[in-house]
Every structure is written in C-alpha cells, then in structure tokens.
Amino acid sequence: MLTKVHTGLDAVPGVWWKPAHRAEKMWVAIAFAWCMVLFAMMPLWHWRGGQNPSGIRRKVEPRAFYARTVEFTKQYQVGEDRGFPIVQPPAGSDVYLTALTYQWYPILQLVQGEKYRLHISALDVNHGFSLYPLNVNFQIIPGYDYALEVTPTASGDFRIICNEFCGIGHHTMVGRVIVLDQRGERVSDNSNARLTNAPGGTTGAQP
C-alpha cells in the first residue's frame, strides 16, 4: 500500500527568515559589484592586458610537424651546442619547435624586439612548455600545433623546462632559447632575468 512520501522539504520557519539588516544588504551589494568587476577583468585582461598569450591551436600530423621542424632547422642553422643545432630564423618568419622525449628540438636564437610566429607541437606524448625563469606554461600536445605571435622583450639565454610528466627522462628535458639583444649580439648567460621594456612582466610571448 502506498503512503504519502515525505520529502522533508517543507518550508522552514525560524530566525533565518528575518528580513536582512541594512549593513548586510550593503555588504551583499558591494560584494556583488566587486564580483562583476572581477568577472569583467578576466576577459579584459586577456584581450587588452596582453598578459595571457592567446595561442591558435590547429590540428596537425605529429610526424609531418617534426619533418617540417627538421627542414626548418636545416634551412636556418647557424651553430651547434653539444650536437644540438642552433637555429636563427629571420625576423617575422615562422619558427618551429618540437618537443619529443626527452628534448626540445632545435635550440632557437631570436632577436630582441623582433616579431616571430612560433609553432610548438609534440611528436610523441604530452609535454609542457615552461620558460624558466619566467614561468610561462603551455601544455604541448601531439597532434596540435600551438601557434603564438612572439616578440622577445628580454635578451639572454633562457631554458625551456618540460612541466608535463612525460616519462623517465622528464627531469632532463631542458631546452634552450637564446635571445640576442637589439644589436644582434649575445648577452652573457647570467643576465637572463634582466628585463628591458617588458610590460606586464612577461617575456617571450607578447601578442
């Protein structure tokens, strides 16, 4: 036999339903307004503040991307560091960087203040692109080309650290980006934290 089901969701009489105090109403109004400001700040900061790099992500075949990187490396190679090619592409060109276990290929040599279109992708598993010591992070996924408009705003010798776990050699996966100063000369290795003309405090990725 069916009986009445008690949901327990009857109205709750009690002190909680007293009308709100004036101070409470003001507090809620201020908090709400502040929430709206913060909500609006996020997209604004994204588009106008220039702090958050907006990548354009395209589908790509990992092997084809790697082949393109190798071709690009051959084209613009200017030197070598312990067997790794150093590549200096002309300003305004497309720059390719492939993450593979456990290396960043090739070493890039860019010029401060020039604009580049940087393409990053992975050949095998997920990797993480983290520019040390400036701490910009992207996840680099095989099959996706992460394209960034980049203008280096600081010169120096930077390290790329892989920050997405990629296997046994994860901690050894360190890449290198050399940024020459405006005269096209190398600055010493230890000056990589020296920022010149860097609005927002971030280098490497100004849209």
Partner: protein
Amino acid sequence: MATVAASPTYTASATPQRSRLMSWLTTTDHKVIGTLYLHTSLFFFVLGGLEALLIRWQLMRPNSVVLTADQYNQLFTMHGTTMVFLAIMPLSAAFFNYLIPLQIGARDVAFPRLNAFSYWIFLLGGVFITLPIFFWVAPDGGWFGYAPLSGRTYSPGPNMDFWVLGLQILGISSLAASFNFATTIINMRAPGMNLMRMPMFTWMSFVTQFLIILSFPVITIALVFLQFDRFFGTTFYQISAGADPLLWQHLFWIFGHPEVYILILPAFGLVSEVLPTNSRKPLFGYPVMAYSGILIGFLGFGVWAHHMFAVGMGPIADTVFGLTTMLIAIPTGVKIFNWIFTMWGGSIRFTAAMKFAIALIAMFVIGGISGITHASPPSDLQQTDTYYIVAHFHYVLFGGAILGIFAGIYHYFPKMYGRTMNETLGTWHFWLNFIAMNLTFFPMHFAGMLGMPRRIYTYDAGQGWELFNMMSTMGAFLLAPATLIFIYNFFRSKKHGEPCGPNPWDAPTLEWSIPSPPPEYNFAKIPMVTSRYPLWDLTHPERTAEIPHTQTGWTEATQQTGEHDMAPMHIETETRTAKELGIPMPSSTIKPFFVALGIVLMFSGLLFLPKGMKVPAFALMFGGTAMWVGYLYAWLTTPLEDHH
C-alpha cells in the same frame, strides 16, 4: 563518565564459535565493515605516507640519487593513487558504513551483502594495485595517467597494466557502495527523520554518493578505452591512428573534479558534526549548509576543464570554466562562515576532535584561496604543473580531508569501541601534525612560483629551490612521528582507553542514544524523531527551542509496522542479543568475498596476455569469471535472513 561500565556483554555473546578471521570474512554488519574499512585505509594511509617520505628524501637536495628516476616515478604515481583511492575515499567509506545507519535510525544498510562485497573488492583491488611497488614494477605514469604516455607504446611494461586494471576494480567497489548508501538514506530513515532533519554528515554523504554514481562511470569508460588500447590493440588514444590526446584529459577530469568533492564533502560532514557538539550550539544555518553541499556537488560537474587551461582551449572556454570554478567558492565560503558562526557565542570545548575541526577551517581556507588564484586562466598559466599546484591540493586534501577525518576518528572512536582516545596524545598529535603539515606544504607555494615543475625526479642547484625543498622535507619527516603518535594512541585506546557511556560528548544526534559500541541491531526499537537534535531535546531543550518540532511521518510509521517506540526519545540501555529480542538480522555469508576474489582473479589474468602467456591468462580469466558468476548466483538465490 569514568563510572560507566566498559563494553556491554552482548558483544561477546553475539559471536558463536567462529574464528576472528572467519567472522570478518563473513560479516554483513555495517559496523564491522566500517571498522574493517577504517583499519585497512589507515594502513594504506601510512603506506602512502611512507611513499611520500621517500619522495621528499629524494627531493631534499639538488641532484640527489636516493632513488632511481624509475623508482621515483613509481613512488609519486603510487603516492597519489594510494592517497586518493586507498586512503581518503575508503576512510570516508568507513564513516559512511559506521555512521549513516546509526544517524538515520536504521538497523543496517539497504544491502548488507553488497556492503561486504564493496569492502572485499576494495581490499583486494588495493592489494592488486599496491603489491607491485614492493617489486618496483608499480604504475609510473602519474595518478592521472595521461594518454598517450599511459598507452602500450610509451609504457610497454606491466606497470600501467596494474594501474588500469586496479582502478577498474576499485571503481566497482565505489559504485557498489554508493548505490547502497544512496538507497539506505532514501529508504531507511526512521519515522520523523525527514531530509531536513538528517545529521549534516549524512547529508554530505548523500551528496557524495550521487557524485560517485555520476562520475565513476566516466572514469570507467576512459579506463575501458585505455584497457582495450593496451591489451586488444584498439586506437582510442593512438595519435598515429588519428586519435585526439585531449579525449583522455577531458574524460579523466570530468571524473577527476567531482572526485575532489567526493574526497572533501564527507570531511565537511564530519566537521559539521564535531563543531556544534563541542560548541554546544546547533549548527548555524542548517538548511543553507545542506543546500550549499548540494550546490558544490552540482557545480563540481561543470568545472573540469580548469585542469586544462594550458592546453589552449581558447579564451572563451577558458573564461567560462574560470567563472564556474570561481562560483564554487560561494557555497564553500558559505560553509566556512556557517562553521565560524556555529562556534560564535558557543561554549567551546577544545577536545582533540574540535582542534582538528577548527584547523580544517583555517587550512581549507588557505587551500581554497590558492585555488581561486588558479581559477583565473591568466594566473593559472603561471602556476599550472608547478609546485604551487602541489601546495594547493595538499592544503585542500591534507588540510581539508585528512584533518576532517582525524576530527571524525577522535570524535567517533568512543562510539566504535566504547572507550575514548587519549586526549593528551591527541593534543600532541594535533600540534605536531599541524606544524609539520604547514612546514611541508607552505614552502611549496614559493618553489612553485619560482618555476619548479611537478613530478621531476631531481633538479639542479642555483634555481632558488633548495631552501624550500629542504623545508618541505623537514616537515615531511616531522609528519611521520605525528602519525606514529596517532597510530599508537588509536591501538592503545582500543584496549586501555577510558571507558565511556553512550554519549561522552553530550552530542545531539541519534547515534549517541545507543550503547557504545552499539549492539548488532543498533536500535532495539526504531526511534521516532521530532527534530534535528533529538538528544538535546531531552537534555538541553533550551538549545533547540528555536528549531521546529513536528511528528511528521509518525502515524504512517505506526500503521505500517506497529513496532516503533512511541515513548519520547531516550537513551537506550538494551543489552540483549538480536535473537533474544526477535529482531531479524542479515545472516553472515562468505559469498560476497568470493565474488570479489573472482573478479580480481579475472582481472589479474589479463596481466599475462601481453607477455603471450596464454595458459595462465585464460586459466585465471575463465576461472575467476566462473568463480564470481557462480558465487553471485548462490548469493542471489539465498535469502538475506536465515531465521525469520
């Protein structure tokens, strides 16, 4: 309190001629299963802690070689997996088992044998996934096993096989248990125990069960895909065959984010029991506490992609998930303020449980606020996959879930064993634990902001990370003695703790109206409830005067069964056994154990397949399948109660 006699006599008379091991293997009593869960998960908690100690030892100095990179990868994977699936979740399950029936005035859970099955498959699954670490063949792909790294191509060994299969086994346990508890809470409440009168722990558990029911199928699908990729050559995650590596990330985090609330909500519930009792005031804003729990659970399904801001989803998706993530701070903040207002103006008693509960509020706020910093995509891009994130989720899981569970253990130990835990040792445990956890996890914020990535085996000197790593390691080494004090206190108090009566804390809810430990049938007469705090109605009516009291549901209850206690709420002193009182109880059975064992054997068979060892593979798979199907058939055709 000291004059109260120790355990009543029925506990001894209720176990006829069965050995202890056999009585555990065959039990269907939710209280015994609850304590089994408690002991097993404390064991896994200590194991996960030891793994963390090795990790911290390795990271103490730059370029350290305490472990090999391979061992390190296995340890951090197993530390995460153990703590999430084998320590915190089952610790919560221990309280679900022990407390939910007592708090709603029921004699057992809805499906007692399914409950035993949940425990056994959890234990066997836990052993299955943990055993390989002792032979250094443990999973090594991170606790979230991102594909394609976790696929056969990049993880060819048996390591990730254990992970894929082990998590599926543990998922069966969680799903079975969650259906059981949801049904229990919906169907088995005592007359008058309507939803808005349920103790807050039961409420939060209720929400948690739905989170499990809705999120575990997603991880099951993700794992089945991965399992088929690894064993049977499908290409769900194989990029050369055109798969999208983001599929795994989406599936994993659609499960993974609700999982975070599965871990924290039961602890919130426990704290919501400890605070009012020890402030001697009703919980502030009870309905809002319940609603905000529901809201956290609901919103928890709409935020998963904040784990993936760095994959380049684009500004629109990033903004939307940033907003939904920040929205969760609202119901969580409501809870924090309601706890503070519960204590406000109360007459606070600083028991060990209360100290842990108050510490949870403070530590969870730190974890919550650092969480809001990476709810915002621009700032998340600075933090993602660094030690800052590690700091954040340890404040939430250790400072939140574990502190809440410790509060729950100190608070409910007297109910489970009839003796209180030593308060002096509890205070030592609390302060050591509190200082050590902050020393361990707070410096991680700074290491992370300085760019230290997660999951690195070792690091070079000169990057500014040395001091913070040294501090974290010191803190971890301090957490070890704190936990030892707790373990010693726990086992010593079981035998030598001060005997206590049914209600040592003067708490208001139903579980404290019955003897400690409770008899097998819990309630000799099913109680009739008129308000949220039935025991305070008896002893401190002034505390509950403002809360509505009605007899909703009483008439129907008496018409249906006629066996209810129409007297006002009272403290029970019944010491006769269920048989003497004529209360039908579910009979003991070993079948759930063998069903669980059969399923685990069936899964273990798969381990031999990639090696081409067809004979053991098929023997185990078919043998295991025959075992669990056979025992399940026998289980389903045997009635629950043998004497009625």
